[in-house]
Each structure stands twice: as structure tokens, then as C-alpha cells.
Amino acid sequence: MQEIEQLVKMANQIADNFSFHEDAVDRLEDHLQRFWAPSMRKKLIEFLDAGGDGLKPDVIAAVQRLQFP
């Protein structure tokens, strides 16, 4: 499996875990900042820039807020 596929699945799955919170996108952004390595965040940002196929809306919203590490 492509590495990016695994990252997309991980991000989507975490978004699912947070989805019942009103501030799901905030939580997701915070999670990505705190627990994901910069290189992993970078790949997700680049993937979104390239179209971000398969990313859930909450993930897209959170990744858009991430600064390029």
C-alpha cells in the first residue's frame, strides 16, 4: 500500500473518532500538531494540495489550517 493511503486512512479514522464533538476540526488540528511527525503532516498537506482525493471534510478543514512544517 502507498504510504499516503495509510496516512489518509489514519487521518480519516481519527476524524471519525472526533466526529461527535462540535469542535471536531479543532481537535483534529490539535491532534495532528501534537501527535503526528512533521514529515507526516507535510505529506498530508502536499496530498491535499494535489487534490486530496478521499480525505473526509473534517480532515480537509483541519489540514488547511496546518502550517507547512
Binding site: 504510504e3 473518532n17 472526533f18 501527535f35
Partner: protein, 203 residues
């Protein structure tokens, strides 16, 4: 591979993980299936029966079609509590319980056999893996006759971790030769999950 008679297994499936986004770590997806499915697939051929150790019954785990064994009483008793419940509920006809964590997708398929041989060889009621000079108490094998000692430790003395338990309970130590990737590689954070996905493409 021969299915061992008289040997049961338990997977410590309990915990939610903040570092993994607050969900059950066991359900984090790896290579198209939940992390714990990798562990189940590797353990099932090694034991006669397999159960999941959970804090409280988890509907999310029903999909694996395995009995769930709850912690001895409310509140977390750690991995020792999980082992205690599993031993207390072990099927008749089984004398040994193989213990494994839910987050080690590469665990050895000959784990049970080697632990059992080591325990029998040293005539001990428990056997624990040692890898790279580190004791790995959640990769271990335990005899039914340790149940009273475990009950005492967990329910009366309030022990939760293996370190303390191993201090006054003699066990056999199975030294496992290093290899790359480690067969005991476990997943504690998103970086490790990604690394495991890379390794899966390779192993």
C-alpha cells in the same frame, strides 16, 4: 502449524489511545484491516481458544467473533487485571494462557510453542520474553496454578503492572534473538503505525 491443545490465549485489547486520536488502538487501521486483526490472525493458529481482554464489554469488538473477558472489577487493573480475568475464565482442559498485546502486528507465529518449551524446561509457572535485554511481560505464558497468586496481587495488593508482580514471582525467561524488524514491534503512536504500514509492504 500444530494447534496446541491445553493452551488458551488472551489479547489485551482494552485501551483507548489519546495519541491515536482517542479511539480504540486495537481498531486503528493497518494495511486494510484493524490492527488487532493482524494479532488475531497470528495468534489463533497457536492456541486452542482465544479471548479479548477488555475493561468493559466493547460492542466495537463483536465483529471479531471472540469472547470478551472484562476486567475483574471496575477501574483499571492494567495488564495484570486482564491476565487475571482471562485465567479465571480459562476453558476447562486448558492449563496455560498465552498473553499478547493488541498492538504488535508482527508477533512471532512460534511464540506459544517457544514460551511453553521454555516454561516446561525451567519448570516454572510463567515464562516471559526478553528481547534486546528488555523484559517484555505482555508477551508471555502463564499457568493456571498462578491464579491464586494473581488474585492476591491484583485484588488485595492493588498491583496493576507486571514489573511489581515479577519481582516476587519467579518465571522462566525466553531470550529472543534480535531481528529486523523486531517481531515485538508495537504501535504506540501515529508514527509507529505508519512505520508498520511500510514494513507490511516489505515483510
Amino acid at each position: 502449524m500444530m494447534r496446541k491443545t491445553g493452551l488458551a490465549g488472551v489479547i489485551l485489547a482494552g485501551g483507548r489511545s489519546r495519541r491515536m486520536g482517542g479511539g480504540y488502538k486495537a481498531l486503528a487501521e493497518l494495511g486494510g484491516k484493524p490492527l488487532i486483526r493482524h494479532v488475531i490472525d497470528r495468534l489463533q493458529p497457536q492456541v486452542q481458544s482465544l479471548v479479548l481482554s477488555v475493561e468493559i464489554h466493547a460492542p466495537d469488538f463483536e465483529v471479531f467473533d471472540l469472547p470478551q473477558v472484562e476486567d475483574p472489577s471496575p477501574g483499571s487493573h492494567g495488564p495484570l487485571g486482564g491476565l487475571l480475568s482471562a485465567l479465571a475464565n480459562m476453558k476447562m482442559g486448558c492449563d496455560w494462557m498465552l498473553l499478547a498485546p493488541c498492538d504488535a502486528p508482527f508477533l512471532p507465529i512460534e511464540l506459544a510453542e517457544r514460551l511453553l518449551n521454555c516454561a516446561l524446561g525451567d519448570d516454572q509457572a510463567g515464562c516471559v520474553v526478553r528481547y534486546d535485554s528488555e523484559i517484555q511481560p505482555t508477551f508471555s505464558l502463564w499457568h493456571r496454578r498462578l491464579l491464586p497468586r494473581l488474585e492476591e496481587a491484583v485484588l488485595e495488593e492493588g498491583m496493576a503492572g507486571f514489573k511489581q508482580f515479577l519481582r516476587d514471582t519467579p518465571v522462566a525467561i525466553l531470550d529472543w534473538k534480535s531481528s529486523d524488524p523486531s517481531p515485538f514491534f508495537n504501535i504506540n503512536d501515529p508514527g509507529a503505525l505508519l512505520k508498520a504500514a511500510r514494513l507490511l509492504d516489505r515483510v
